[in-house]
Symmetry: C2
């Protein structure tokens, strides 16, 4: 890629970003868009649609940027919870890393690279290849390479220091958040699964007798899980119907209430839809009741067991309960709204096999993904298109169209395929046997991250067949050299990738293009009042891998091609503002996972450091500076040791709270007058929402309490 | 190796074994040898030296074999503890595996191999190479190889079944042993190390306040560890002196009591040694008291904390106590007599670094061990010897002597070097930061095992430079082929190894050659009454790797060269009898590790199965049966899955007891009237023996109670 091409690309994408930012600044102020741009505020009733028109609404303004920037961490914590804070720490960490990297990379390394003569590229600045700014341009055996060598050491040290700082900062946050929180049901509850019952006893009886016998002083209550997927779908139907009916009844005079029978509703007598719905709802309600009474006996060998104290629950959680460790397995209970109920119908062995199958499927998808993509991309070959669709021949001869088809279409297809990956990985993770949505999301996050690293990084770097790419890793001796020869050449691709994919993805995240389109489609094609307010949970599983991947790119290319660094810094700046803003307005926190994403960031950073070191070992060899290559070997070892230390020092807190905190909190709770009420709630918190009694009050038109309960319950599940 | 050579070797070694067995049968009956052949019985006062002479003493008899064979597992458990039982289970497991292997290998595979014509060895049976009995003799592409293929599958299945059975059997033993045992201090105690103290407080004060605040209902007492290595050596000296003095005083009339002063004791006035000793002892005792009072302040940030119940201790053990997981780290306390006191002087970071250094040292020793061995072995080169020691020239010309030097000396040197390895590994493990001798022994066992597998198996199979051997493993793709080409050819070497090293090592273990020699040397050169009775702990760290290694050999060669199998079966038979006998008479159990050796056996068996599968994949490729090679691939995967299942199913029990058992046992204890007395003992059980008050009663001649205490304490430490 030439400098001029880069400048063009930067220009186009900067323009796109500005466009999105401006559009957002205007569109967010339109009252009709409020459910797209501030559903969170609508849900919490902090914002009401404004009716009046004023001119300001049509002018772009940057007040929201100031607002997002000013938001303190404490405010963010109280608004969106700990996960949002940790999520934003990723940006802060990245901003710090790349600020340092830009200073060293652009201030020192870039001039050295540019002054090299290895590539003997004598063209003018704008026509120079981007490779002139990369390490490839430094002469073989040049002593300038020792600067790169030192930079690699210093940069690794700085990154490790920042990692340590961030890990320790987040650990402190977790502890102080724990102390300041109200008691949560999940902290008092343990999920026991794989319960083997003695003959003639029900699961409930056995759980009751075990815990009253062994933990008489701390045991509070339990809820046995029941197989309720069919019931859940019935309730969903009933609930939908009830809402329709309620709407219908509240608009008595609308003509929609009546509908003709017969084909296309043209013939036959007019019927009152409300009557029809009411009858259906009655049937459904009956069905729900029958199912509920049937299910009361259908126990799954799993139960949520609640205790009177944090420490009591932790004791049961940490100590193996039964002699056979595959039975009566204890696990931290998720928050009630975080439970993935379908999981419970599977046994230990089935889950284990599912787990293995999912791992195999993920590896297969990750390795073989590019095959269909390349085939579909092949269709954008002009000759191929002309053969298949002869009528397009004239069209394809137009330069602009042919350029779009050959230049943009393949990468668009890749992006489309890539956007399928997060949901696919979510689906795979959800059959893996996790009991909580948050666990599924975390697992999907890791899968998507590795997928991205493999299919964006390695697939581009190691061109050639899939088999060749895999085989590189089966020959560990040659990895440094292979990577050193392949990686620097791809720098310009990745710079373009940061600009096109990174920048625009952030700004389109702000713009919320797809929700906006759906919003208008719903307005056009459906009745407006059918639209439900959707307040999304931030999709960590698709966002975090993206953000981390750019970090991996930046660290890997730090001394190879420092030109990438300022583009990354801009990306993180934009991301910082954008995500602080849609955390404020768009996303809610349905379930917390208490910053458990951070270790993923930590490991990926360590991975990218090691990758950088391996490439450095290779590149100093290729550049005929074997001494530097040899002296680079201790660096990855030191980094791994640092990683091991961090693991010992911080990781345990991300798994469970220490006794000190638990007992302190328990003592505070004992002095809390509200604890009795909390125990009462706790006793029923883990009952399957589908098993709670529902009653649709058909005679009145106002929403009755049972319905609200049913609807809430529906939301939670 | 030819059949005739094998027969000669088997003959010689069988003769040696018989000789050792016969010598043992006679020597064990000599009263003067009783401290060598039955120290355990002497120590437990079950056997008194017989004074009278009778003819029977000079005749070999096999009564001991019957006695050893008849011993039931319950008797063994009560005599030598759980570890001895688990140790014998290794033999039982191996006997079962190789009984099956012999039936299939000798009954089916050996004839097939022998009928092949690949090697076209037409010589007579006795002159045939042993390779004619190995898979190398089966024709390339022959369908007979499918028999080998099936045998590999069936054998793997049988071994896995036996492994599962054995794991589950030993798990049951561990549980029932736990229930039947008296309460042990270690089950009630947790070692807390890395204690960070608040300013102005001693470690003891902080421990006391933490546990009384957080565990008021279960906390019993604690003992802070003190830095006592200097004190320990003083006490050792004092104790030795006291014993000498006591002996001297009890034989008043011996001339030894008086000694002349001056050089060689020839000149000068006669002095009363007793007076001299008494003075010295007084000084030492004073020194001990001063040191004890000094040390009372020198606390190490570690303490043994005892609780009132098993479950109370387990709770503290399993839950992280403080926010910083590298401080106040809890660990299961070892039994008091099992504590490795010197460990306590090191900090967390120092231990971590030591650990890493030890791992590096072990890898270096393992990889580079053969270099000095080969150099020393090179000295046995005849020409070299003649050049260096010209006067030997005549001697070396004698055929017998030159044959011994070239034939036996190199392997003798290798064996001598090998015998250094277990103590070296013990020394390395002891600086690794383990707090118990049993942990050190287990860690050394693993090190010795890997050392053996690398330096006996791989070093012989992959001839060539050290670098070449390491590089094979850096090229994973080619491992199956490289091994398939190299391993079968070494079959005859390993058959000879089983016969020479395996058989004779077991029978010389019975014969106890070295202790016997030391026993007689002590008799000749030293006063008889100076000899102390040494009752050894069974050296698991050197015996278990040996036994496992033969199993690894057998499983790896099962279908490659089944001829090895009967020799192994004989080895395990001999071992079974010999070790049951020295467990009866020789070894005591100073400290238990509750069968924690078993997982090592399990993993090594899985390792050897996988090794067999990898070689099978390679060999079917080399033998031009690619389909079989491909169909072999699922087998290692299945084996690994089986291993993972076993790990989930059984391993937790080898780490800690489940809550069910702990609480049941606690309930039993509560009803035990002796528990109050046990608590009193528990409160002082973990005091450093060196810190207990010692008093040598010099005026009386009988052993006073304080001395006995000091001597006991000495034994325990």
């Amino acid at each position: 890629m030439l400098v001029s091409a880069l400048l063009t690309s930067v220009g186009i994408n900067l323009g796109l970003c500005l466009l999105f930012f401006t559009l957002y600044s205007i569109l967010r102020k339109q009252p009709s868009n409020i459910t797209v741009y501030a559903p969170r505020l609508v849900a919490t009733q902090k914002s009401e649609p404004r009716g009046q028109f004023d001119l300001e609404r049509l002018l772009p303004s940057a007040g929201w940027v100031k607002q997002a920037w000013r938001l303190t961490e404490e405010e963010l914590l109280s608004l969106s919870g700990l996960d949002a804070v940790v999520f934003m720490r990723i940006f802060i960490f990245s901003l710090r890393v790349f600020s340092f990297a830009v200073i060293v990379g652009i201030g020192i390394l870039l001039p050295i690279n540019y002054l090299g003569t290895q590539l003997s590229d004598d063209s003018e600045l704008v026509n120079k290849s981007l490779d002139s700014f990369s390490i490839s341009n430094v002469n073989d055996g040049s002593n300038w390479l020792w600067i790169h060598f030192s930079a690699a050491y210093i940069f690794s040290g700085v990154v490790c220091y920042l990692l340590y700082y961030e890990y320790s900062y987040i650990s402190d946050k977790i502890i102080s958040h724990f102390y300041s929180c109200k008691p949560l049901p999940s902290d008092f509850t343990v999920l026991v699964h794989g319960i083997s019952t003695s003959s003639g006893h029900t699961v409930s009886e056995d759980v009751e007798s075990f815990f009253t016998e062994y933990y008489p002083s701390t045991y509070l209550s339990h809820s046995v899980v029941r197989r309720s997927s069919k019931l859940q779908s019935l309730i969903r139907d009933a609930d939908k119907l009830y809402r329709k009916l309620a709407r219908l009844k509240s608009n008595k005079d609308t003509p929609r209430r009546f509908k003709r029978e017969g084909p296309l509703g043209l013939f036959g007598r007019q019927v009152d839809l409300a009557d029809q719905y009411e009858k259906k709802l009655g049937d459904l309600e009956e069905g729900v009741r029958i199912q509920q009474s049937l299910l009361a006996g259908q126990e799954v060998p799993a139960a949520f067991v609640s205790f009177k104290s944090h420490f009591g629950a932790a004791t049961v959680l940490h100590i193996q309960q039964r002699i056979n460790p595959t039975e009566w397995v204890t696990e931290q209970a998720p928050e009630p709204q975080d439970i993935h109920w379908p999981f419970f119908s599977t046994s230990f062995l089935k889950r284990w096999i599912c787990n293995l199958a999912v791992v195999a499927a993920c590896i297969a998808i990750t390795i073989l993904f590019l095959i269909p993509v390349v085939i579909v991309q092949g269709l954008t070959n002009l000759d191929q298109l002309e053969t298949w669709f002869p009528f397009l021949e004239g069209l394809l001869k137009i330069t602009f169209i042919s350029e779009v088809i050959t230049g943009y279409l393949p990468s668009l297809i890749l992006q489309l395929f890539l956007s399928l990956i997060p949901p696919v990985m979510m689906a795979l993770s959800s059959v893996q046997g996790y009991i909580a949505f948050s666990q599924i999301q975390k697992s999907a996050c890791i899968k998507v991250l590795w997928f991205t690293i493999w299919n964006i990084f390695f697939a581009n770097v190691l061109s050639g067949s899939v088999l060749y790419r895999v085989s590189v890793f089966l020959d560990p001796k040659n990895i440094p050299t292979v990577l050193a020869e392949a990686v620097p050449g791809q720098a310009s691709f990745f710079i373009a990738y940061v600009v096109t994919s990174g920048w625009t993805s952030v700004s389109s995240e702000l713009f919320r293009l797809l929700p906006l389109i759906f919003h208008y489609l719903a307005k056009v094609f459906a009745r407006k009042d059918d639209e439900e307010l959707v307040v999304p949970q931030i999709p960590y599983h698709s966002e975090i891998p993206k953000i981390i991947f750019f970090g991996v790119l930046g660290i890997t290319y730090f001394f190879l091609a420092p030109l990438i660094l300022p583009f990354l810094l801009i990306y993180y700046c934009m991301g910082y503002i954008v995500f602080r803003n849609q955390l404020l307005n768009v996303y809610v926190c349905k379930y917390e996972i208490r910053g458990k994403f951070w270790p993923i960031v930590h490991y990926s950073t360590i991975f990218s450091l090691i990758l950088m070191h391996i490439i450095a070992i290779g590149i100093f060899g290729v550049k005929k500076l074997p001494l530097a290559s040899g002296l680079m070997v201790p660096l990855p070892i030191l980094t791994l040791l640092f990683n091991q230390y961090c693991q010992k020092r911080f990781l345990p807190l991300f798994k469970a709270y220490p006794a000190e905190c638990l007992i302190k909190k328990d003592k505070e709770d004992q002095n809390d007058p509200a604890i009795g009420e909390f125990y009462n709630k706790l006793a029923t918190a883990y009952e399957d929402p589908a098993m709670k009694p529902t009653q649709y009050s058909l005679s009145t038109e106002s929403h009755s309490t049972p319905l609200l309960q049913a609807a809430e319950v529906e939301n939670l599940a």
